[in-house]
Subunit: 417 residues, 2 copies
């Protein structure tokens, strides 16, 4: 324990496998005899000295984290200002870390969280506190820069492709006298990665999904309705996968924007009912729609084994980098080949990841704008391969890790931040 403790925290929207990363972090640190505290609700847990002592959890529980969705230690949406703007907050962070002899900081999140990790990495230098900061990648949106893919994405991609395949069989059987059009709305505010994954459900013009609506392409109402009608004329039914971020040419979202989150992102939801209303009104067809929302990113029961392995690998690598004093890095996935799919984890500078956003390449979207290309299939297909079913209890529901979440005794007074 002479080399100090490690603090691990989860940030941003959670995924089906972020706890698998947590599990790998804790297990790897234990193997290296480093104690892990978890921030309760991300960076807020550090600011508020609200820490969880993971050494009080059994190895059985830590292993069970790998099949437990959600964020076991609580996540947060909280954006740090720069040290110039908010020095007191950084001083408090360092004060808490120092009070508990924490020498390693691992922040598990997406673009915004990489920014937070980078800012803390820089602040610790400025404030002269010996801290090794390492990011840990996670996001269902697959929009992290540098890394070939983001842990969390493969599982939501598998959920989405599987849902399209299953629901399409339902529509196909109902279409003769009932529902002819089905619209599935998927996550992905600005990048159509999840929408693209829907395309894995089938290949060829007549296989579902017949139409994918990407946020990268402006929505053309007349053409969309024409495509739906043509598909129904041709095969009797039509399945549409629509990104939550689908919008008109002038930028208006089909799902009218509601509130904003802490990062200033618009809160969306409701492209599918808007599209369904259009189809019903303009084409007079019976239409059903689904909006799985959080179900898609918490569906640990149908996680991708590939995604799970990568989520664990980045957790293990992050601890190793920290212990090797690789300051200001983040483990990323490097793809070595498509077929057979081979990958490895390598370190990348946090600065190259923070606040960047990886867009869906134009070459992944079919020329007509409503489907994916062979290049997209080659990229996406390996990410959904393999099943990693959780253990199920006798009651028919998946086993969930039951953490003690024992708080670390506070040493400081409350922060008035």
């Amino acid at each position: 324990m002479s080399r100090g403790k490690l603090v691990y925290a989860q940030s941003g929207g959670v995924t089906a496998v972020i706890n698998a990363t947590a599990s790998a972090v804790i297990r790897t640190a234990r193997q290296n005899r480093v104690k892990v505290y978890a921030g309760h609700n991300g960076i807020l847990g550090i600011l508020n000295e609200d820490l969880i002592d993971t050494s009080k959890e059994t190895l059985h529980t830590i292993r069970a984290l790998a099949h437990t969705p959600g964020g076991a230690f609580g996540s947060c949406r909280f954006k740090l200002q720069s040290i110039e703007q908010d020095r007191a907050r950084y001083e408090r962070l360092i004060e808490v870390l120092a009070a508990h002899d924490i020498r390693y900081f691992l922040y598990n999140g997406g673009n915004d969280s990489a920014d937070t990790a980078l800012k803390i990495a820089q602040a610790s230098k400025i404030l002269g506190y010996p801290l090794t900061c390492v990011g840990v990648p996670k996001t269902v949106d697959n929009d992290l820069a540098v890394t070939d893919c983001s842990p969390g994405f493969g599982s939501v991609a598998k959920y989405t492709a599987l849902s399209v395949r299953e629901a399409s069989l339902d529509i196909a059987s109902m279409a003769k006298t009932s529902t002819k059009v089905f619209i599935l709305e998927v996550m992905g505010r600005h990048a159509g990665w999840i929408a693209a994954a829907a395309g894995l459900a089938g290949e060829g013009r007549d296989a579902p999904p017949h139409l994918i609506l990407f946020p990268e392409r402006a929505f053309d109402e007349a053409d969309f309705l024409h495509q739906v009608q043509a598909t129904v004329n041709r095969i009797g039914w039509c399945v549409v996968a629509a990104s939550e971020g689908v919008h008109y040419a002038d930028g208006r979202f089909l799902a009218e924007a509601g509130s904003q989150d802490a990062f200033g992102h618009a809160q969306l939801g409701g492209a599918a009912p808007t599209l369904a209303g259009l189809v019903k009104e303009k084409l007079g067809m019976k239409v059903h729609w689904a909006l799985p929302d959080y179900l898609q990113r918490s569906a640990r029961h149908i996680a991708s084994a590939t995604d799970l392995a990568q989520a664990e690998a980045v957790g293990e690598a992050a601890v190793n980098y920290a212990l090797q004093d690789k300051h200001g890095v983040i483990p990323v996935i490097e793809r070595l080949s498509d077929r057979p799919y081979r990958w490895r984890v390598v370190p990348a500078p946090l600065a190259r990841v923070a606040n960047h956003e990886k867009k869906l390449p134009r070459k992944f979207i079919r020329a007509d704008g409503y489907g994916i290309t062979a290049a997209a299939r080659s990229y996406l297909s390996p990410l959904i391969q393999g099943e990693a079913f959780p253990p199920f209890n006798r009651d028919g529901l998946p086993h969930i890790a039951e953490l003690r979440r024992q708080p670390v005794a506070k040493k400081l007074s409350a922060f008035e931040g």
Copy 2:
């Protein structure tokens, strides 16, 4: 083949396991050397002499049907009038059956389909055609009379309970700084069976779902909002499972009724966004909602093994009853004990099932109207037990039966019905 052929058809909304029933029907008939034709799109396939020769499918394909969701032969929503009102249609049905030497008629569906089977049973007597008519139960709504439960329900119940459990872990981790309330809308127009199944996700006041909204109880907006606020005050977040049929005391659905289906049922959808809007507007909390729609009834990947076994058992029994000339019956599930769960299949008169609707018992709803009782748990719990994962292809998606669907050569002219 001397005793004639059997026609099997699927009707109404499909389920994750209706094809498992089809698989059992075809396999059992084959064992008895009876050829099975399937009606293409339910009863319409018989009226239009649009029949599929299942003897052209391999045993491998027929076995694969057991893990394929949707209705493999096409379903329909089509209500027959009485023979007095529409004698020509019944004469046509009999003409088609006679032309193909069909002596057994199996109709796989819910309340309305049992009515269809019963009418054809009666019509065949009136018209003097020797036909043995047997119903086969199926509905995700679990509202079939006489039977202890309906094949198809256990799987949607499992999907629902599991979805609540998984998504709740997501909300719990986000609630500190982001989403505090999550609303899952489930199927069940008039009966809260699926909503009740959500209650299996947890037990006790603080376990999700914290509130269930049943169609059996009038929605009280002020009290609902009070309950949500109290739950968030107590534990920081709140998960709601709402039936699509939730309505105000005056009968108005929260999801405003849209079109009607062929049986005159209102087409609903959208209670969850209405509730979410209320929570956001009145309580000012960030809220997410999900509406899985067809995903819940096509989720064969997470089917209940109990449900699957029952779906197969009623298929096998239906063929056996038919071959025993048990006219006008339907196999139903009889529960022998809760713990251990034991059940058997017995025949019941179609007349006792047709057009009846099994309501959720009052004793299954907690006194405060927002949860389920111990009696409900004892009833529901066995139905979701056991997993029956489909085989997965190497591409990471479930294997699906690929049927040849070879049409039977027509012997008659088209029906001008």
